[in-house]
Symmetry: C2
Subunit: 341 residues, 2 copies
């Protein structure tokens, strides 16, 4: 790979100058007293030879690699990981950096290995990402340099980037209130584990808090709250069937994520009810299925790409200590309507 590339010495020789001169010119060093003509010659030589510096050699001296490590627990299982990475990739490119990606799979041995691997390569900083928003403990080994937590917070007060789930909860509740829903709003997806253990999820509690706060301010309380052991379609389906078996039918459903909402749609379809005429549905995440459902599912979007980008910016440009909250925009789609009757 990249054999026989021109070296700085080649450039210097061709320009009839020393390596020192060539290095200074190419790095645009201020305060050097090299003549305009010397500059010309160096640039011309570099151009002609297609010179590109060997970054291994450079970083040996400067201890900078223009490389960022992106260490995450799980890359594959969620569709969103890609967006997180893409945002980071974009921001990194804008700053002339590159991303070294590793995955720990939540396994301590792999994590240890991943961290050593990136430290051995002298990365300039580490983005430590979680695929579900949560609190986590950062391995001490990476604390020797800049670290930013992505989609996670830590007890150590490291800079971190998380979505504004509480704000999303408020938006969701506000959207329903605005349409006139008051006494028949049901919630699908309560979950003690997610709500109570910040190492499992920060999103559940924050979303719930946002919802309750906004409803509370309007003097409204939830009609029913369904607990679900997981946030998968089958649990949304079961919860929705349960709701439909009760005497008072809800006018609107808030689902804690889009997959639950997908399940709810299935139950509604089977029961012969239509969204949004009979029941409005709104949720969280903006998973691709939200746009595919009929009618389109209104939801608040997890701004993963923004977040990835922000993490790189914090890492390289230095950043705030309070967790950086990225807003979750409301995507209004056809699943919302005023309550029936």
């Amino acid at each position: 790979m990249g054999r026989n590339r021109a070296t700085l010495a080649d450039v210097a020789r061709r320009a009839g100058l020393s390596k020192t001169a060539a290095s200074m010119v190419l790095n645009g060093r201020e305060g050097t007293r090299l003549s305009a003509e010397a500059h010309q010659r160096v640039f011309a030589a570099a151009e002609e030879l297609g010179y590109r510096p060997n970054l291994a050699a450079r970083s040996l001296r400067t201890r900078k690699t223009a490389t960022i490590a992106f260490v995450s627990d799980i890359v594959a299982t969620t569709r969103f990981a890609g967006d997180l990475i893409r945002g980071a990739l974009d921001a990194a490119r804008e700053r002339d950096h590159v991303l070294l990606i590793t995955e720990t799979q939540g396994d301590a041995t792999f994590e240890q290995y991943a961290i050593e691997a990136v430290l051995d390569r002298q990365v300039d900083g580490v983005i430590y990402a979680a695929m579900a928003t949560r609190r986590l403990a950062v391995p001490g080994a990476i604390l020797g340099g800049p670290v930013v937590l992505l989609n996670a917070t830590s007890p150590d007060g490291l800079p971190s980037v998380v979505p504004d789930d509480e704000g999303a909860g408020r938006s969701v509740a506000a959207a329903l209130l605005e349409l006139g829903h008051r006494d028949a709003i049901a919630l699908i997806g309560r979950n003690r584990l997610k709500e109570d253990d910040p190492e499992v999820s920060l999103a559940a509690r924050a979303r719930l808090r946002g919802i309750q706060q906004t409803l509370g301010e309007a003097g409204v309380s939830l009609l029913t709250e369904c607990f679900c052991t997981e946030w998968l379609p089958e649990h949304g389906y079961a919860a929705m069937r349960g709701l439909l078996g009760k005497p008072k039918r809800p006018s609107a459903i808030i689902c804690m994520n889009d997959r639950l909402a997908f399940g709810a749609y299935q139950a509604l379809g089977e029961a012969g009810l239509t969204v949004p005429e009979d029941i409005s549905v709104i949720s969280f995440d903006d998973d691709p299925i939200a746009a595919w459902l009929r009618p389109g599912l209104a939801t608040t979007a997890l701004p993963h790409e923004q977040m990835g980008r922000r993490a790189v910016e914090l890492l390289l440009d230095g950043g705030t200590n309070p967790p950086s909250l990225v807003p979750m925009p409301l995507r209004r789609r056809r699943s919302l309507a005023p309550p029936p009757g």
Copy 2:
């Protein structure tokens, strides 16, 4: 990041030996005549100092970085990218390598930049990945070293890894024949562009070929073929509605991917038909929605994780020239039944 790490010189000093000796011992060089005691002392010193070699320094000398570039057109838009990356990540870790990931977004300038960025870092090889299986032209700049195409082929005959879409087409057709479907099998998702331009897709043509071949061998031909401009749920929905408007109702539907099948399910639900009692449905990809649908959608899985893994293996262990075909396993789910009546 990683300041004040112990160097080889530190280890050598502590062991009371030369850098040369320390280097040789730690690299397990054969044929050196260093005493067993010297070995002990070096290992002990390295252990005590927590020595880890500086890979920038090492690669300056050896021109090996134990780093692979993963250059892809688009990371974010499909859920599958994550699996491709994860497979590559796993295989890379097993071989003590790490992945440098870049994205070209299908843009020539970005591609140029991405390639320079990875070559500057002296990667040991490049995995050039496409997110939709297709043929593409590989930029000359990376041909200086090992390259493997992932989910793509090129006219240059470079080693490549692609899914066995034709085999998947055969499995799909066979599964329906096996259940007794013969004269009422419809196909949703014909698309001239995808079928005819290998730079757009290789999958469409291969899947179709597999289906036609297996049906042909059984003396069966398709009842109807629906053309779709894209392979999205809305197109599957429209195609299915069209099919249901015709006099002869199909007993089984083959969709060219799961998103089309999802749309077909929606149309079937609205029409009050049930899967699989009224109509069987089968498709391609094994998108997560396939498992979430009710009833679960039978489909052939794109083996992305396997493919990512294979690409790394080909790159590092050297490989075959004919494109390496990775089988697409059939996932049998409840959407299949014998034809009604």
